[in-house]
């Protein structure tokens, strides 16, 4: 099976290399035969990588510890669910998985464009497979997951198979961790498709609306998946690491946020190009930036150039990524500079107070946030290079720099949709803004009366109400018009309104999700923490919760041994919950990890951690956090994802347009035949 996997990788590399050459020459010579051949090679690249992935999964599932990767990242007693996930638990497997996802995206891009964008496709295939050549070379030559274990003795080198493997890293043995990396990778890798279309458009000088319309959906899908991946990562950190938070501004977390932010900027600015033929250069820059940051994120995770809690992913492949980043930058920027004449704006701004300028400001804020996060992430390196001193840049820095920018962004999330294309009059501004501003003001006053004095929390909650009223107002106004003119009831009106323009109303749902996320973030300001040594019968009061320790039990599973605290919680004198935080000791890896007990409600989470046992007294060390509003972060993330799905769904207008185009095509074909 190891040989089969290696053969699959060699064949995949060969097909990718051929597809690059055939695509580039096919595009240059306008040879449809060569282009088709390149496309078939790219599809074969997918088939060969699927073979390699299937071979590695087979080795993992059958406990073949002769394979070095399987011995390192799996063990006999690991649940099947986690064994499947061992594919992306280590460097070699995750790079193979990454390359396989790239091949899936490439195959989909080719199959969905087999009758469209024919001039672009040879170059799109060449760029996709160029990336494929890089990743499959890495997997084959630098981080091969099909290496076999051997033992060198005086008698020579012999094949070696250990009786059991080292097992999966204990912190990765959590359900959201199983889907977090695939989602994140689908987000990172997917950004290659818009990049490939942008490069194809630049090479062929086909820089009209076509490539931008094609890539919008190809950007939305990885953008949504990247967002979901970030959210699942936060959920994992919250439930497993036991420090009571979900985001620590770790360099690797920041690396995943950067392409998501620049992708958000692109998804907004692309609308200006579609509607007004403006910002053409800027959109290409954003596509390049997003792809660059996706690869840069991987480089940051793998290279170990910055200290991170994700140190388990580090290796020596950083230099290869830096070379690849230089190639991407040189190739794309040169191409962009050569095509500047073809990227002239078709229109001008009618007014500074318009939807277009709203998008400009949105892009400004998002890119400023990208800069602030990138600057903070890289500052330890810069400081070391300039003054020879390593400084730490962690949460206190990012909270002070990123929160004000985030608040501006939140404001624009509500204000942007109220601006009209071309020009918004002062009267219209006043009419649209007055109600949201009143609601925000009343919220602020009520919060002040309630004793809320935390500046950022107050600002966040007021702005959240402002944005929510702005966005819900848009739904209400549209529905009211339909109810008046069409005689529809409210539910019908909302449904038809949304389905008529899924892109617009899906976008509004995304904005509502962002509001929920920010409400969740605001809760961090009111976090409470307590810590105590407890044994059976001991009580601990935290806010209005009373925790009673009912004892400590120990147990064994095939995979780990555990100590479990039994805690009964009452709230305001009433029975509230029974909580069982655990400390686990994994047999294979000989590592200890916490399993936090969380009781979520819409207002706050009660979060109980068994930190360990006190050596002197033998009592359980119990940490308790009361985390307000955390659940809204998860709900907000899901709403953002669902809103994106809605925006991806073809609207009634789009379907009608497609129908007309299809009818016209049939008519043209018929007249040609006649």
């Amino acid at each position: 099976m190891n040989q089969l996997g290696t053969v699959g990788l060699i064949a995949a590399l060969a097909f990718a290399a051929y597809a690059v050459v055939a695509g580039a020459i096919g595009g240059k010579l306008r040879s449809s035969r060569l282009t088709t051949s390149a496309e078939r090679a790219a599809l074969s690249f997918f088939v060969m990588l699927t073979l390699a992935v299937a071979a590695l999964e087979y080795l993992i599932l059958t406990n073949n510890f002769h394979n070095a990767y399987v011995a390192e990242h799996s063990n006999r007693d690991l649940q099947t669910f986690y064994k499947v996930a061992a594919l992306w638990a280590g460097q070699e497997g995750s790079l193979l998985f990454w390359t396989w996802l790239l091949s899936i995206y490439s195959a989909l891009a080719i199959l969905l464009n087999r009758h469209k964008n024919r001039q672009l496709m040879p170059y799109v295939v060449a760029v996709l497979m160029g990336t494929g050549v890089f990743f499959s070379s890495l997997v084959l030559f630098i981080a091969n997951p099909f290496q076999e274990l051997s033992l060198t003795t005086a008698a020579g080198t012999q094949a070696f198979t250990p009786p059991d493997g080292n097992g999966l890293n204990p912190v990765l043995q959590y359900h959201s961790m199983v889907i977090h990396p695939p989602m994140l990778y689908l987000g990172y890798v997917g950004m290659v498709v818009p990049f490939a279309f942008a490069m194809g458009a630049l090479i062929t000088r086909q820089l009209g609306d076509n490539w931008i319309r094609t890539t919008r959906r190809w950007t939305m899908v990885p953008w949504a998946l990247l967002g979901l991946g970030i959210l699942l990562g936060g959920n994992w950190a919250y439930a497993v690491l036991g420090w009571g938070g979900y985001w620590a501004w770790d360099p690797v977390e920041n690396a995943s946020l950067l392409p998501w932010l620049s992708g958000t900027a692109f998804l907004h600015s692309v609308m200006i190009q579609e509607k007004r033929g403006m910002l053409k250069v800027w959109n290409v820059v954003l596509v390049i930036t997003t792809f660059f940051l996706s690869i840069f994120g991987t480089f940051l995770t793998r290279s170990g150039i910055v200290s991170s809690v994700h140190a388990f992913a580090q290796s020596s492949i950083g230099p290869f990524f830096s070379v690849f980043l230089c190639i991407i930058l040189f190739f794309s920027v040169t191409l962009l500079l050569l095509r500047l004449d073809h990227l002239k704006s078709e229109n001008k701004l009618d007014s500074l107070v318009s939807r277009e300028s709203g998008f400009l400001f949105n892009n400004w804020i998002l890119l400023a946030l990208v800069f602030a996060v990138l600057w903070g992430t890289l500052f330890p390196l810069i400081s070391k290079a300039v003054q020879g001193v390593t400084v730490t840049v962690s949460a206190p820095f990012f909270n002070k720099t990123a929160i004000p920018i985030g608040l501006l962004l939140l404001f624009l999330t509500g204000a942007g949709p109220l601006l009209a294309w071309r020009k918004t009059s002062f009267q219209s501004l006043r009419r649209n803004f007055i109600l949201p501003l009143i609601f925000a003001g009343v919220t602020g006053a009520l919060l002040l009366v309630a004793g809320v004095r935390h500046f950022y929390a107050l600002m966040t909650l007021c702005l959240s109400v402002f944005v929510a009223v702005c966005v819900l107002g848009e739904f209400w106004k549209g529905a009211r018009t339909r109810m008046k003119t069409g005689g529809e009831n409210f539910a019908q009106a909302i449904y038809h309104l949304t389905m008529r323009n899924t892109r617009r109303y899906g976008g509004y749902v995304v904005h509502l999700g962002i509001v929920l996320l920010f409400i969740g973030f605001a809760g961090l300001a009111f976090k409470t923490k307590a810590k105590a040594l407890m044994q059976e019968g001991d009580l601990l009061r935290v806010n209005n919760y009373l925790l009673r320790c009912d004892g400590l039990t120990n147990g064994d599973t095939p995979n780990y041994a555990y100590s479990r605290a039994l805690i009964t919680v009452t709230k305001d004198g009433h029975a509230f919950a029974s909580m069982h935080p655990e400390k686990r000791f994994y047999n294979a890896s000989q590592e200890t990890t916490s399993y936090v007990s969380i009781h979520p409600t819409l207002s706050e989470d009660l979060y109980v951690v068994l930190s360990g046992l006190d050596e002197d007294t033998g009592k359980a060390v119990i940490e308790v956090f009361v985390n307000p509003l955390v659940v809204w972060v998860w709900i907000g993330g899901v709403v953002v994802f669902l809103g994106t799905l809605l925006a991806l769904f073809p609207s009634r207008v789009e379907r009608e347009m497609a129908e007309i185009r299809r009818t016209q095509d049939i008519a043209v074909s018929a007249s040609d035949a006649g």
């Binding site: 206190p396 294309w421 207008v653």
Partner: protein, 201 residues
């Protein structure tokens, strides 16, 4: 065969977009010279002021003195055991570094020192990398000010670009505009009314 209704609603968006300009131009033409001009606040400057206020607010908060606690200092001090977390969040059970640093911080608090002084003392004792955020002096000051400078510089750039891209004043544009066909205008208004569309679509 495309039905009449399908074709009408499908083409409504470009029709509306095209006519909006004519409507605006006609509106400006009809308004020219009539009544006092309504003052419109320059929104870009309002946005700049808002950005400036938030930046200042963040700096003010950064400098605001707080009564130190073991918890608040612990969030700003890195554990040096190699865990890349603050001493409040070190994942290691019975971490020796945390066990050594906590009493030091507790002593400083008991001595009545403020947050800044405690952090300075810890930086002298353990090295500057013990601080979870770079100190606001020397080269490290650039870490703090560059994001704000970047924000304001890019804002000026965006405003400058927006001004450069702006069309000539609407009154001038309106002077060259053709009058709108009233039938077309009525059709568009009817279409917008029935579909719940606005100029924000």
């Amino acid at each position: 065969m495309v039905s009449r209704n399908t074709a009408r609603s499908a083409w409504a968006t470009p029709l509306v977009a095209g006519v909006t300009t004519e409507m605006q131009a006609a509106h400006h033409k009809s308004q020219k010279g009539k009544g006092p001009r309504i003052w419109q606040p320059p929104l870009e400057w309002a946005a700049a002021a808002l950005a400036l206020c938030l930046c200042l607010a963040s700096l003010t908060r950064a400098d605001a003195p707080r009564k130190p606690t073991l918890e608040s200092i612990g969030d700003q001090v890195m554990c040096l055991c190699g865990c890349v977390a603050t001493i409040n969040h070190c994942p290691h059970r019975d971490c020796a570094t945390v066990a050594e640093m906590r009493p030091v911080i507790a002593q400083e608090i008991a001595a009545g020192k403020d947050e800044t002084t405690i952090l300075q003392d810890l930086a002298i004792r353990y090295g500057v990398q013990v601080l979870a955020a770079p100190p606001a002096h020397g080269f490290s000051l650039t870490a703090w000010i560059l994001p704000s400078i970047g924000l304001l510089a890019s804002l000026s750039f965006v405003v400058a670009v927006a001004r450069r891209w702006r069309k000539p004043r609407p009154a001038l544009a309106g002077a060259d505009a053709k009058p709108v066909d009233p039938k077309l205008l009525a059709a568009v208004e009817e279409e917008m009314k029935t579909s719940g569309m606005t100029t924000r679509d």
